[in-house]
Amino acid sequence: MTHLIAKGLPSEHVLLLGNEAVARGAVESNVEVAASYPGTPASEIVDTLALVADEVGMHVQWSTNEMVAFEVAVGGAICGKRSMASMKHIGANWIVDPLMHAVYHGFNAGLLLVSADDPSGHSSANEQDNRYLALMAEIPALEPSDVQEAKDYVRLALEMSEEIRLPVMLRLVTRICHSRGDVVLGKVERHPVEPKFHDDYYSNFVLGDGIVGPKVIPELHAILHEKLKRVEEVAAKKGLFLVEKGLKSNLNKVGIITSSAPANYVFDYLKRRGLRGKIGLLKLGLTNPFPERVVSEFAKDFNKIIVVEEGEPFIERHLTALAKDVKPSLKIFGKLTAHLPRTGELNYSAVDRFLSGILRLDPETVPQEKAEVMEAASKLLTPRILTMCAGCPHRAAYYAAKKATRTVANARYIAMGDIGCYTLGMYPPLKFMQDVFCMGGSIGVANGIAKAGFKDPVLATIGDSTFYHAGIPALINATFNQANVKVMVLDNEVTAMTGYQPHPGCGETATGKPTKRVLIEDISKACGIEFVRIVDPYDMKSSVAAMEEALRFNGPAVVIFRRLCSQEYLRRLRRTVQRIVPCVVVEEKCTGCRTCVAAFGCPAMGFDKERKRSFIDPLECMGCGVCVEVCPQGAIAEGQVKGGEDK
């Protein structure tokens, strides 16, 4: 895919992932600075850009967190280079402070904020509609509806940012980020801009705004409002509104307003029902500031407007307010009227039911034979709960920590989890943490719990990348306010859950360049933590001993469980001629006690009910050998990695 993003020719027709399309858009439109922190569903934007950064002359980085990433982009744009920061919706919560400054500040080049929202929270802890962040920050929000537009809107957003002189949000959703679609490529225009910086703070406000000298805050705010007034006109010129008036005789005088991914369900519906071109349709490529003129002009011809949107009823609320002035008799149907589900990602069936209901057409129904199959299937299917991978070092760390709490604290403890693969330690069979909060929340919330007056030890479990991202201030706080928190840092030496991106501890940047490692143990000591231990979670005895010691220690403590992510390990192994020799259950020794499957739960292990013996799937096992120590009967023979030199 590398060559396509950098080298694909104009008008070439290719299949791209939505996030790859955004990356291609950035390459085509001369973005020179791109920064991000990994987060699903946004990660592949910078994953892709990192592959071509040197080739196209772009600075691409994984930053310590989203706030820093956005500030890096601000720095680029102040210096006259088109810049972008991309992040998942929750990640954007970290940038609210710099964003609220950015809207009053001038820039010498386009500044793009890519927000990847995750309706249904497929890979997230919440549903959050960042059009409301655009509303609060008072910046334009562009909403592409497919992969082609995801690419094209990057250029349009940057041009708008320069014309209006404001940061612009590109609001994506999972179903665009993680969909592949056919895309016609555009021309790649790369021309490095000579960096420039202003002489003083106030002169910066001169940048294109025609304003000179110091301004008080309300004056700056008023300038922002003046800028916003022009957005709709600029958007219209850029073709961000698709308007289809429909036939005069159209069914019940109904029009549809939609945006983003759900527009596709509307298009598919209208095509299937033979209604395309007959019914009124308005697709908004800009939703903030709300394009009142375009919407008023469209809505006035109809008695009813159906709003099909994902996330919050953003368009619908604005339309409802607008209708009071421009057409009080207008009937509006959407989420507020409970015609469309208020939560969760939309799909074709939901839109079919919604539109058919208002249009008085028959909705699609489940075919009778399928209803029977669904009934029969439901009796056979079991859910596949999420679990850590075979050989995952986190599983070993939790198992060891659990053992330590049994010897030191009668298995009584309070443990807060954090955001990463290791969150899965909450699930059976380990069930190590009882609760989880936001990025960095493990240590932060544990600071509070530790002051609540429990006798049991209070633990926080946090991953390596999350530690750098958000754990450090809370760790300093534990020293500052002497909160007796035992922090387990699950350091698998990579940002695993989002696709193995490097972090400050890896010694390698996004583009694979060597850099100085920032070590968690050094940070912990510098934060004032007096008890800091590093263990290999595959070494069960040492891991248990370190945790026992930490639990007995009087004061905040950090135990770093360091071992490369098993999947990243396998990825690296595939580039070599080395091969894994899996662990094996020695049948004569196995008593069928089930400790391995019931308490440890490695997905490479199973239990044969008929033979009453455990077994290990040789294709799944990665030979870590932790189960050898877990088995109380000594019935597992250790695996290994065999082979020669790197290829």
């Binding site: 027709h13 290719v14 299949l15 992932l17 699903t40 497929h122 890979s123 179903r175 993680h178 969909s179 592949r180 679609g181 056919d182 596709n264 369900y265 298009f267 598919d268 095509k271 799909n347 074709y348 069936s349 079919d352 489940v366 075919p367 034979e369 399928k370 199959v373 669904m374 029969a376 299937a377 439901s378 056979l380 299917l381 079991t382 859910p383 596949r384 709960i385 999420l386 679990t387 850590m388 991978c389 075979a390 693969c421 969150t423 899965l424 069979p429 859950m497 999947q567 580039r575 089930r594 499957v597 019931a598 739960g601 997905p603 292990m605 199973g606 239990f607 009910k609 294709l619 799944e620």
Partner: protein, 211 residues
Amino acid sequence: MTATRDSELNIIIAGVGGQGNVRGAQILGTAAVKAGYRARVSDVYGIAQRGGPVVSHVRIGKEIYGSMVEEHRADVVVGLEPMEALRATSSFLRPGGIVILSTRPIYPVEVNTGKASYPKLEDILAVIGKASRKIVTLDATKVAEDAGIPIAANIVVLGVLAGLGLLPFSELVLKEAIKESIPRALEENLKAFDAGFSIGRRLKGCDRKGD
């Protein structure tokens, strides 16, 4: 278009994280674009890298928009794992559609820990049979192993799809797409594809009676 209605082809590839259905779907979509069609591919999965159910949606046609196959509208369900094949058939297969099912199970943790039991293959096939016109079963992992690359079950089933004549473009386009998308062990992957293709070709046209 082959095996379709509404001049669109809707395929679901279902499996468990790590089985490569996302890559398989990407290859199908790439081939479709090469052959001059519009393509939409979407993957629905949870937060983990491995072990969770993954459903890849592939839509191919001249005028298609949404990137997910609608419920009960898939022309073909490809299951890289029996229970996931059943799950996807239940939600997505259109009555009279075709199912390609790889027979090697991957047990959920709940089954490994003895809290749930894994359904018998014959029970799975019996239920799928109520909805489908044709079921092709094979151990795609075994076929891939024989080709020298056990992880290429996803490529094997692409071969089966092409061999059954279910795609509106030639297997050569698909092989081109494989060459572009597979970074390593290309020869073994193409061998796995050919093995799947032969299996599909052999079964082409052997529909169940009465359909």
